[in-house]
Symmetry: D2
Subunit: 270 residues, 4 copies
C-alpha cells in the first residue's frame, strides 16, 4: 500500500461527495434504476417508482459495456436526454456510465455522477479524463482487482484534480458459480480503514440473483457502507440487459425501508 498520497485516510477527514441533493459519505444513500435506459416510458416509470420508494439518485445506462458486440449497446445520446427529463420530473440526480474518454466532457453536461465500470477500473486514459473534470465519479472495483489496485485507480482521479470519488464494491470473480460474482463485503471496512473516500455496494452485480439482494443490502448497511446502487425494473423479463437480477419496484421499496432501519440501528450502537 505504498504510493497512496491523496486517497489515504492518514491525516484527513472523511470525504462527503455531493451531487445535487445526493450526499455520499453523510448518511446512507440509495441509487437505483434500470441497467439500461430502454425507452422514455420505461425510464420514467422506473424513475417515479424508485423516487417513491425513497431512492436518492437514479441510475440508468446509456452506453453499455457488453461482452458481445452483437448485444444491445445502449441508446447513447437519446438515453441521456431521457435521463435529463427524469431528473427534471423527479429531482433525482443522475448516475450513468462512461466508457470512452472522448465522451467524458459532453456526457458530464447531462448527468450528475459519472460511473467508471468494473471493466474500466484500470482504463487509465478514462481515469485521467474523469479526473480532469469535477463531476463526481463512481469508481467500481474491477472484478479481478485487489484493494490496492482499486485505491490506486482512485488515486489517478484525485491526482488529476477531481476529489469527488465514490468507491463501489460490486463483487469479484471467483470459482463460485451459484452467484454471478462473489460480493466482497469485507472490502467496505477494509477500504474505509485506508481511505477517506465513501464506499458503496452494488448487490445486484455482486450476487446476480434477485433472491440474495436484500440480504446482502442489509449486510452492506451493517458493514458500514455509505450506500447502495441497485438495479430496479418494472418488467425484468423484458429488460434488454441483466434480466435475471433486477428488483421489482415493490420489492425495492420494502428493501429500502428495511435497510434504512438496520442502518439507523447500527448508527445508534453504543
Amino acid at each position: 500500500m505504498e504510493e497512496l498520497k491523496l486517497t489515504s485516510l492518514a491525516g484527513r477527514p472523511r470525504t462527503v461527495v455531493a451531487a445535487g441533493p445526493l450526499r455520499l459519505g453523510a448518511g446512507f444513500a440509495v441509487i437505483a434504476g434500470p441497467c439500461s435506459v430502454e425507452s422514455e416510458s420505461q425510464l420514467m416509470t422506473i424513475a417515479r417508482a424508485v423516487k417513491d420508494a425513497g431512492a436518492d439518485a437514479l441510475r440508468g445506462g446509456a452506453f453499455k459495456p457488453r461482452t458481445s458486440p452483437y448485444a444491445f449497446q445502449g441508446l447513447g445520446l437519446r438515453a441521456l436526454k431521457i435521463l435529463e427529463k427524469a431528473r427534471r420530473e423527479t429531482g433525482l440526480p443522475i448516475v450513468t456510465e462512461v466508457l470512452d474518454p472522448r465522451d467524458v466532457s459532453w456526457v458530464s453536461e447531462f448527468v450528475d455522477v459519472l460511473q467508471v465500470g468494473a471493466r474500466n477500473m484500470q482504463n487509465f486514459s478514462l481515469l485521467k479524463e474523469v479526473g480532469k473534470g469535477s463531476r463526481p465519479v463512481l469508481l467500481k472495483r474491477g472484478m479481478h482487482s485487489t484493494l490496492e489496485e482499486w485505491l490506486n485507480s482512485a488515486e489517478y482521479i484525485l491526482s488529476a484534480g477531481n476529489p469527488n470519488v465514490i468507491l463501489c464494491e460490486r463483487g469479484i470473480r471467483t470459482f463460485e458459480v451459484y452467484t454471478r460474482n462473489t460480493l466482497d463485503l469485507s472490502a467496505v471496512p477494509a477500504a474505509k480503514e485506508l481511505t477517506h473516500l465513501p464506499v458503496i455496494v452494488d448487490p445486484t452485480h455482486g450476487t446476480g440473483r434477485v433472491s440474495l439482494i436484500e440480504s446482502m443490502s442489509l449486510a452492506a448497511a451493517a458493514a458500514g457502507a455509505d450506500g447502495l446502487i441497485v438495479e430496479v425494473h418494472h418488467n425484468p423479463k423484458e429488460a434488454l440487459s441483466d434480466k435475471a437480477q433486477a428488483l421489482l419496484p415493490a420489492a425495492f421499496e420494502a428493501m429500502v425501508r428495511r435497510v434504512r432501519a438496520v442502518r439507523a440501528c447500527v448508527e445508534s450502537l453504543p
Copy 2:
C-alpha cells in the same frame, strides 16, 4: 444442485441443532475461544472471559491442521481434558476440530460439537465417520469449495445417519491479499435458500484481520446467519497459532453486544 436428498430445504422445516444449552438455528449463537488450547491457565482465562461476554459455546483446538509439520500441532488428549474442565466450570458446550476418522469416537466422549475443518470438507472418510455418530458436526466450507460441493459434503453426514449438521462459511481463497480469505457472506442466504440446516459465519478466518472482524460480524447477523464462531485470546501476541486475528476479550464483549442488537433489529423488521 442435483442429488441433494436429505439436506434440501424442499418440504422440510428448518433444523435446530442442539448441543447442551446451545441451540443453532433458533436465535443467534456465538461460539468463541482460542485457536489452540495452549495450557490450562490460558484456556480457563479465555473460557471465563467469553462466558462473561455472553458466548454460547467455547471453541478450542486440540488437533491443529497446520501447513507445516514443524508447526505446533496441538496438545491432543491433554487439550481435551482441559476443555472438559472448562465446560464443568463455565457450563459452556465445547466445540473442537477432529482431523482423523480414528479420533471421532473417543473425542466425541469429551466434546459437544465436532468441527470438520475447511481442509477436510471433502475428506469423505471423516465425513462418513462423523455421520455415524450423533454428535453435532460443524462443517466448514472448503476454501476452494462451491456451494454445491459444500452441501453435498453435508449430505454425506446426513446420509450416514447424523442429522445434526451446522454449516460454517469461513472465507474462500481468491486473488485478494489484503484479507487472508474472502468472506463470502452471500453464501449464507444462498445456503439457506437451498437447505434447512443452520449456517454460521467465521469472521476470524474469513478476514484474518482483527480490525475487520466486528464489521463482518454485524454484516453476518444482518445477512441472516444463525451465529458466529470467533477466535478470542487474552494475549494474542503470544498465541501459538493465528496470532494476528484473535480478538481481545474486551473487544469481543463489546462486539457481542452490538451484534445482538443488530440481530434483534433485523428480526423485528416488518
Copy 3:
C-alpha cells in the same frame, strides 16, 4: 518458503522414486488407466491396451472421492484384487488412491504406489500415515493449494520417514469454465527449482477435455515434467466416473509416441 527441510533441493541430488520397474525422476514415465476399476474385464482390457501403448504403470481407482454420497464410490477390495491380477499379467506396477488413514497399511499390500488425491492434500492424518510406510506416494496438488502448501504437504510425508514422494500437478480451480481446472504447468519448473522430488502432470483432470489432453501432455514434457498420469478407457461413454475426459486406447498410444519424441528432443537440446 520457510520450514522446508527434507523436501528442499538445497544441497541434495534429485530423487528417483522406484516402484518395481517404474522409475520416477529418471526418464519420462507414463502412468495410465481408468478413473475407476469397474470390473475385471474392463480393467484387464484397459491394462493390456496401456501396456501395449507403452505405459510404465497402471492407475485405477478402488476408492473414489466423489462430491455426492450417492455417486459410485468404487469397488474397494474387489478392485484391489483386480488390480493385482492386472499387475501379474502385464507386469505394470499399480497406482491407486487411498482416502482413509486406516486403509494405508492393508492397501499397501496390494499396490505399488499410493496416491493422495487433491482433496486430501492437506489431510494431515493421511499424510502422516503414508509417511510411516515406504510405499511411494503420488501427492496431487490441491485444487486450491499454493506451491508452498504443496511442498509442505510433501514435507509431512518425508518427515514421517518416507522419502518416496512424487508430486503431481493436476490443475487448480479458477474462474475459467471452459476447462474443468486450469492446468498450472509453471508449477512444474517452479517445484523443480525448490525441491529434489520428481514432478509429474495429470492433463486429464487438469483440462477435463479430451481434445486438450495431447497438447498439454506435449507441453508438460517440454516444461520438464518427469512424467504423466492419464485416464484411458476403452468405452468412455459407459464409464462410471469421469466420462468426458478419458482417452481411447488408440489416441493414448499415438500420444505416448509423440510425447516421448518431444521429450527426447528436449533432452537433446544443447
Copy 4:
C-alpha cells in the same frame, strides 16, 4: 460460446496475420524487447540484440498502464520515434501498446502492430477503434477473462472491420503467489479449437519469474502456440518497469534456439 460470428473457426481456414516480414500463424514467431522504451541507447541496444538472437519483431512500450499514477508512464511520442528508428536499422516490425482510442490513429502511423493490453481487453471503445483500422492487433487476454470473453473481444475488432487479430495468453490471476500470474497454456489449444486466429504466449507476464520463462516457452511451442512475446533487457536491474522478469540477451538467444528446435520437432511429429 454463442454469438461468435467472425472469429469462429467453423468453416474458415486459419488466419495468417502479416506485419511487414512478420507472419503470425505461419511458422513460429518471436516478438521481443523491453517492457518500456527508456532511451534511444537502451532501445537500440536491445533491438540489435534481439535481432541477432533471431527475433521476428520488436516490442517496446511507449504508453505504460501502471497501477499507480506516480509510476513511470512511458515516453509517449518520443518512444515511438525511437521505435521507428529501431525498425529502420534492424528491419524488425514494431509492436507497441495503445491505451486510448484517441491515440489509435496517429500511433498506427509509427508502428506495425497495436497491442491491446490485458487491462483493456474489455475496453470496448478501444476495441472498436483498433477495429476501424487495418493495423494488426495483438489482443492480450484479461487477467480475469474467460476464453469466451476473450474471443468476444476479438469479435469486437473483427466486426468493426479489422480481420488482423493475434490472440495472446499472458496469464490469469489466481490465488498462487509464487508466480505473478498463472500462465494458462491450455488456453492455446482451447482457443485454437474455437477460432481461426493465431494465438501466442507471453511467458514473461505469465510467470513473472526469469527462471521459469524458458520452460514455459518450450511448453508453449509444444502446446501449439504460434509464437511468443518476451521481455528482454540488457540491464534488468536498472529497468524502469518489470525489473524482475526480463531476460538478458544471451539467455534469450539460447532460449530462441531451443524453442525453435522443439517447435521443429513438434511439427515433424507423425
